[in-house]
């Protein structure tokens, strides 16, 4: 009876009634913005993590930083205090809990690091399961950065070949660039501490960050 009456109404009235019903139902529907729960494609994720393509090692990263390559966002997952003490130049501080609320876009290349691999993996998983495409983790995190880039230890022979010397010089240059130093046996003996340099240390880093890359959308 009710349906028959409804069918006899003019189209615009029917549309109006449907709209009102949808509006009333929506009051009881949940907030469309809260997407805390997500579906995860376990198979896809496990396959991705099986190969090593989602890892970036610190040499690559230091190379990009020196060359001013900036087609990625470097994210420091550690706590604020630790970040303030020292962080890899150009990194932004976003803790794991805040990852999804940050302004990271799904089609950006995102490189994560932390002081332990579990936190990085956590961040990687959260982003990956929320359909972020290019998520990478720095192998070994900040520790690896400290040991291999800032304070690389030299395994110098007594009579280094030209190749070894070349490599040695490069290590020293890179370490100096980021405010650290190459640790030869003499330095290790004298001062075994690996003090993190101040954040301002690599003052010369100039990123070729494309200005206004963030598109303003809208009509």
């Amino acid at each position: 009876m009710l349906l028959k009456n409804f069918a006899e109404l003019p189209a615009r009235k029917r549309i109006g009634i449907v709209a009102i019903i949808l509006g009333i139902v929506s009051i009881f529907a949940s907030n469309p913005f809260s997407n805390v729960n997500t579906k995860v494609n376990i198979k896809e994720l496990s396959l991705v993590s099986a190969d090593e393509i989602s890892e970036v090692n610190v040499e690559e990263l230091s190379d990009w930083l020196i060359k001013g390559k900036y087609d990625y966002r470097l994210i420091d997952l550690r706590k604020d205090e630790e970040y303030k003490k020292y962080h890899i130049p150009t990194s932004e501080n976003v803790t794991v809990a805040r990852l999804l609320k940050s302004d990271l876009a799904r089609n950006e290349k995102i490189i994560l690091y932390s002081d332990n691999d579990i936190t990085s993996a956590q961040g990687w998983f959260i982003l990956k399961s929320n359909n972020y495409k290019g998520v990478y983790v720095i192998k070994g995190g900040i520790e690896s950065w400290q040991k291999e880039i800032l304070f690389p230890s030299c395994t110098c022979d007594e009579n280094p070949t030209i190749e070894q010397k070349h490599k040695h010089d490069k290590l020293a240059e890179v370490a100096k660039y980021f405010g650290g130093e190459l640790r030869t046996e003499g330095i290790i003996a004298a001062n075994n501490k690996m003090e993190m340099p101040s954040i301002e240390a690599p003052a010369t880093i100039e990123l070729k960050k494309p200005k206004g890359k963030r598109k303003r959308e809208g009509c």
Partner: protein, 201 residues
């Protein structure tokens, strides 16, 4: 698959331009069909003689609102990725006022002038030229008005957050507002038609 497709990286910049082109054509087509391509029709809104554009516009708003809400509710759409502009209260009030005045005088908004140009309306060509000149003047003036341009910033806010009300209630209110608006518009149309026939004698 979840929308929005571009933000999820399902297609790249180049493909997005093609998609935009196709959507643009259909958007223009719908605007023209709705009568938005005629300055007379648009100006009629402000004299309450023919409210077709108002009705089309408000219907589109309500349809889009209901669609976005339910698509995101069933998980097809990630609403947090749908961009909406930041609010700068005073500059936007003034800007809206200027746009509104231009709308009544010229009979077009920027988009509909493009539609009207494609159907060969000369007034629309001048309207668009004027718009471009205005953009140029604004660009030259911008250093002097930068402070005002960025004044009273409120960030990316929306009504449910600002008022602290459930999304659904805002939806229902907008729907009721639309239906009330349609009823009022039809009533005004009738009234104006009577007035006009009386004036003609």
């Amino acid at each position: 698959m979840t929308a929005p497709f571009f933000k999820f990286g399902y297609f790249n910049d180049e493909v997005s331009l093609i998609v935009a082109f196709v959507i643009g054509i259909f958007f223009g087509l719908v605007l023209e069909k709705g009568g938005f391509g005629s300055a007379r029709m648009l100006a009629a809104q402000f004299y309450f003689t023919d409210m077709r554009v108002f009705k089309v516009m408000f219907t589109a708003i309500v349809t889009a609102m209901i669609g976005l809400f339910y698509f995101s509710w069933i998980g097809f759409l990630d609403l947090s990725l749908v961009y909406y502009g930041e609010t700068f209260l005073l500059p936007q009030l003034l800007g809206g006022l200027i746009l509104g005045v231009g709308f009544v005088i010229g009979g077009y908004c920027p988009g509909t002038s493009a539609v009207a140009i494609s159907t060969g309306r000369i007034d629309a060509i001048f309207y668009a030229l004027g718009g471009m000149f205005g953009i140029f003047v604004f660009g030259e003036m911008f250093p002097y008005i930068t402070d005002f341009f960025y004044s009273t910033p409120m960030g990316q806010i929306n009504l449910p957050d600002l008022l602290g009300i459930n999304y659904g209630i805002i939806m229902l209110l907008v729907i009721l507002m639309a239906i009330g608006g349609f009823t009022a518009a039809e009533w005004a149309e009738k009234l104006m038609a009577e007035k006009q026939s009386k004036a003609r004698g």
